[in-house]
Each structure stands twice: as C-alpha cells, then as structure tokens.
Amino acid sequence: MKKLLTGNEAVARGAYEAGVTLASAYPGTPSTEILENVANYKEIYSEWAPNEKVALEVAIGGSIAGARTLAAMKHVGINVAADPLFTFGYTGVNGGCIIISADDPGMHSSQNEQDNRYYARASKIALIEPSDSQEAKDFVKEAYEISEKFDIPILFRLTTRICHSKGLVEIDDRQSVPMKEYNKNIPKYVATPANGKKLHVVVEDKLKRLEEYSNNSSLNRFEWNDKKIGVITSGVAYQYAKEVFGDTVSYLKLGFTFPLPKAMIRKFADEVDKLYVIEELEPYLETEIKAMGIDVIGKEIIPNIGELNPDIIAEAILGKKSKTVEKNEDNVVGRPPTMCAGCPHRGLFYELSKKKNVVVTGDIGCYTLGSAPPLSTMDTCICMGASISAGHGFAKANEINGREGVKVFGVIGDSTFFHSGITGLVDIVYNKGNAATIILDNRITGMTGHQENPGTGYTLMGEPAEQIDIVKVCEAIGVKHIEKVNPLDLDQTKKAIEKAINTDEPVVIITEYPCVLKKSKQDEIDKYGLNRKECVVDSEACKECKICLKAGCPAISFEKGIGAIIDETMCVGCDVCLQICPFDAIKKVGE
C-alpha cells in the first residue's frame, strides 16, 4: 500500500517498522512532527525531553540497555546535544541508535542555517541523508542495521524540504526486534581518560570499515547516462538535479555520506568528462572530493547561502533563466509573523515598551515577536536560554564599568525556561546578579505548535503528569522576589515591572495566562476565565489618537473618519486595547 507522507511521517513510520521501542526529542521546526507521529505508535515509548541534550542521553541510555532508540531535534538542537554526541561516538551502541538532525536551509523558522553534516565527521559517527519521503523511511530501517553491525550511532540528516514535503511511500509491517542482552562493559561504556584512549583507536578502525561499507552500500549508487557531465549529489539536491537534467547526465547519488565512498567517487570522476557537485549549504562533499585531488565544480557557481531549487541549478550550470512575470514591489507590503490577537505576551511587552532605560535580553519562542514593530521591545536573541545568562552578563558588565541607571530584563518562555533557563537563573542568584527575569508562562510550547512541556501537566503520550511548579523551582534556587501576574492585567503587570526596576537583587516575574490558541481543558477555562467577551470600539468616543495601535494587535485596524476598528472574528476579548485607550472608547460587547 502506498501513502502520501511527509518526510517526518515517513521517518516515524520507518522507526516503527524497524522495531524501535524508545524515542525522545525536544520540539523544533522542521523536526517536531517526527515525535508527534512516533507517539501514535503505541509500541514505542515516546517522550518530550526538556531539551535536546537530555533527549539524546535518554536515547543513549536506551540503546546501551539494548533497545533500538532514536532522538530527534532541529539543527541547533544538535549544538545543545553535542556533548553526549561526541562521546557516544566513542562508546558506540548496543541496540541501534539514530540521531535525527533536521536542518533548515533558507531559515524558514530558525536563527541560522548551519550544515550539520560536519557534526558526523567531527563526532566520528556515520551520516545518512535521504532525498525524499520513501528514502526517509527505507534509510531509517537500513540505518538501524548499520548502527548495530558497526556498533556506531547514526546521524540521520534531514532538511526542511525533506521533513515537510510529501511523497508517496510504500508501507510495510513492523519488524519485531527483541531487545539485545545487556552485559556490563566498563571499558566500552565508561568513558574515563584511560578507556577513552582505547575507544578512540576502536572508532578509527570502525570508520575504516565503514568506508568500505560505504563503497558497497545500496544507499550510494551510480546512475549512468551520457558521461559528458557527471553530478555528485546528496539529499534533496539530488531531486533538484534530476528535475533539471533528467536522464541526460550521469549521477553519483549519495545517501551514506560519512565516511564517504571514496572508491566510488574516484571511479565516477574517472569516467565522466566534467564533474559537478550539487549540494545544499556548505561544500561538505566538495571539500572532501577536492582533498582527494579530484577537480570538481561546486560552490563557485552554486550558492552556499539559502536553499536551492531546480531553477537555481539550471541557471548556475546551464545558464538558463526562466521567463518570469514581473513583480510590482509597490503592491506588496511585508507580512511578518505577529503575536496573535489575544496573545498573553502582548500585555507584558506593551508595558515593558513604555519603560525607558531598560535592556531586554530576549529568547526564542513566540515572545521573540516582541522584537517586531510596533512593540520593538527586545535587545538581543541568541539561542534558547541566553535571555537570562546574557542578561546577567550585560548587567554585570554595566556594573563593573560604572554604567548606571539601566535595568536588564531577561524574558523567557515556560518551555525555554525548562530547556535551558534554569541554569542561568542559578548563575544570577549564585553570583549576586541583579538582572530581572520574566518567565512568560503561557502554559504550553507555543511557537512550535503546542507541545506539552514539564509545566503543563501532560506528557507527549497524553498522560497526566506532575506539573513542575515554576515558583517552587525559583524559590529552591534562592530567588527572594517572585511575583506571579496576569499579563492581561496591565496595571498589575506595570507595577511588577516597576518593583523589579527598584530591586537590586534577583527578581522573577511570572506572567501566567494560557496561549490563545491552546485547546484548554475545562479546569483551565475556569481558572483563567477564558470565555471572554469581545471588545468593540465606540466610534463616537474614539478620538482617532491611534494609541491602541501601539499594542500591535492584528484585530485592530484604523480608518480615518471612523477611527479604530476591531475585527470581531479575530478579537478574543483580552482587553489590552481596552485598558490602553485613554478615552474609554473601547468597550466589551453588550456592555
């Protein structure tokens, strides 16, 4: 039977068919749906870990115990998980283990476009790159065989267009794979310096044997056509190349890309007249091939910035430019993503935006949209967790250099706080910092599409769970000034911010209110009063001052002569605009 599956769905299906029994991940576009789909298979224990390092360590533990396991994450997640990754390369596996890295060329929803293929080489583990959904499923199954045969973890590298594109996939049954026996093996699994020295020798030997495998693997193949032009390619770039050249050129199509099949590459280079490497992002293959002394054309004509498509390749190699319809730029206004109407983050950022002499060190999540106009209330955003620690550094630098009168606020979401914010807060308390921390607790992991997290009371598999209490965590760390506010109550929020500005010790403000898109259960609806009435503008009373527009709510527009207009289908009655209006022109419907 064939089914139309995204790459992410296909990977999940592959894991199921391969007999995987444990999977751990932290969400992140474009990888999130992998675990969401794995969780649909009841045979697999699946969980959201608080961060990628934990996810990988869980998968490592499960593998050493003898089960087939996987960890999934977006490309930057591998940075977080890099520490266990590098040592896992030395110890190897017991049950097969694959680590899925979903890279994001073109940065559809990421802060950088790092090419994670380099991680495989750096951590000395095998690398596999599928080029469509069918391969995503087939290669996962093959990956487990390789992982167990060579005692090595596999970096399974996807990109956005593999993850989120759909193609037809042949579905098979699940293979039942009994858990492997676990035998205590200190020299293999306890990476002390003495053991590590020996393991390094072992892994170099594994890589030699893997190169041999690579030259014979069904994941790497020649497609012989006319030999005037030869193309070496991997991942989705293969599909783009096929689209452009069809069967007019020869291909060396690579799916197993570390260690590279050098014998195949040499043979291919010998047989074709002109050799191109077509790969997305960095010259990963190209550099290796050139180091073999082979002359190839690659990044001098194919961009290493942004994602590729067939057109870019056709233009670079054939000099063929498609005829296009001219776009009238004057008729196109940007459409940046924005906080939703009713987003609980808006109230906090509105109040923060009115304060002078504050620096806001931001973090990653929906609240990063607080950096966009009209709020523009964020000074930095580096990576998950950096709000608190970079804020601490900013404040300390000010202090030691005598810059006074600036208050630093680190703003961080609930999921991000659990991910990597806690250690930053420990640093502030431990080292007597005075940067304030605002935890925007919208009761869910919003940006990536509503995943449960340690604070929400449910697991990925839908079971009720202990709700980790953020207030108690902060208390345990030693924060003495902790205040919980409703961010839709502007007065309360403003007072908390002012109090923090005047406190020279660590402060935590928790803004607690559910995400407007969250499907809240009845207890939450009651607790937060989520059945709110919409707001309307009394046009008579509206003085057209436009102050309400400063909240940046997508439900509010403005027309000269009429004043502010609230779109009733979008408004959820959060009342932020109602509180902002200096003329009481905004009211609740029916009041």
Binding site: L4, T29, P30, H108, S109, D132, T160, R161, H164, S165, K166, G167, L168, V236, Q239, Y240, K242, E243, N309, P310, D311, I312, A314, S322, K323, T324, V325, E326, K327, N328, D330, N331, V332, V333, G334, R335, P336, P337, T338, M339, C340, C366, L369, A372, P373, P374, T448, G449, L517, K546, L549, K550, G552, C553, P554, I556, S557, F558, T569
Partner: protein, 191 residues
Amino acid sequence: MAETKNILLVGVGGQGTVLASKVLATGLISAGYDVKMSEVHGMAQRGGSVTTQVRFGDKVYSPIIGKGQADIIVAFEKMEAERWIDYLKPEGVVVANDHAVPSVPVLIGEAEYPKNVIEDLKAKVDITVINAVEVAKELGNIKTQNIVMLGSLVKALNLDNIDWEKVIGEVVKERFVDINIKAFNKGKELV
C-alpha cells in the same frame, strides 16, 4: 507522458490552504499521478504568508519549484498573488480571491494596503477573480472559502475527470462534508 504540472497555493495563516492542498493531492493520487507537495509550516499560525506547492505528473522529482515555473497560482488573499507572481509561467493562470487581509505594517499605519492589486495583475497575467469569502458566507460557513477556491482551481486546470466529491468525503471531517461539496461546486461555477 503527462508533463509535470505545478500548482502554487498562497495565502495567510488560518485560511485553510493546508486542507485544500490535502484534498487536491488526494484527488490527484486517486487519478494515478505521482504527486509531491511541499508546505512551509512553523510561523503559519502567526499570521505570516503561507505557501503550498503541489506538483503532479508521471514522475515528479523536486518537491519545489523556482521562479517562472507555476502553471497556476491560487491566491487566497489578493496581495499574496502579487507577492508570488514571479513564480508564475508567463503563460500561466491566476485564480485570486478578491479578499484583503491587512498585514501588521498596514494595521499600525506604517504602510498602505495596495489599492489596485487586481487591476495591476489583470494587466499582466491571465487572472480569474472570485469572491470566495462571499460565497462561503452565503453557504453559511466562511471557513469553506478554501474549498470554493479549490473548486475554481480544479475547473481552471481541467481536472473534472476526478471524483472530487468522493475525495472530499474521504478527507474532510464528516459533519463538514456536505457543505464543502457545495462549496466545491460553487467554486467550479465561478471559473
């Protein structure tokens, strides 16, 4: 041998482009085509611009297309038609919803929503303008505008030989099937 056709659906998060493309792809597969489809998620729910590409033919390689390659652009929002117009083949067609969703720069008064998008497009491409929002409202559910648009797309691409009512029945939630079939047929009449 059927040449690969390229469809580009563009709109704004929340307009239902994803469901429309799902129905479309399911129908095309039932007709025996190879299909690849690509959509960009992530920021979609946050009011950003969303696109879905659907490609079908005997054998499809790339899930995405470059500029100047779309046989048809279906725009759920009119300014989005202009934003993506350079992806259209010069001889391609546009089906556009006569519907404006102002973006934040417009809402906060930093930019003005373009006044003459449709006229401008009419001057340079083959375009059919429909009012899917009105039609959907008349049917009693504004959310069916996506399937109205789908009906128009099917007509514009001459894909009537597929049993779309059956496909809608398979893909759409049961209690919304009837209204969506009506929406689909209305959409077909508009082209």
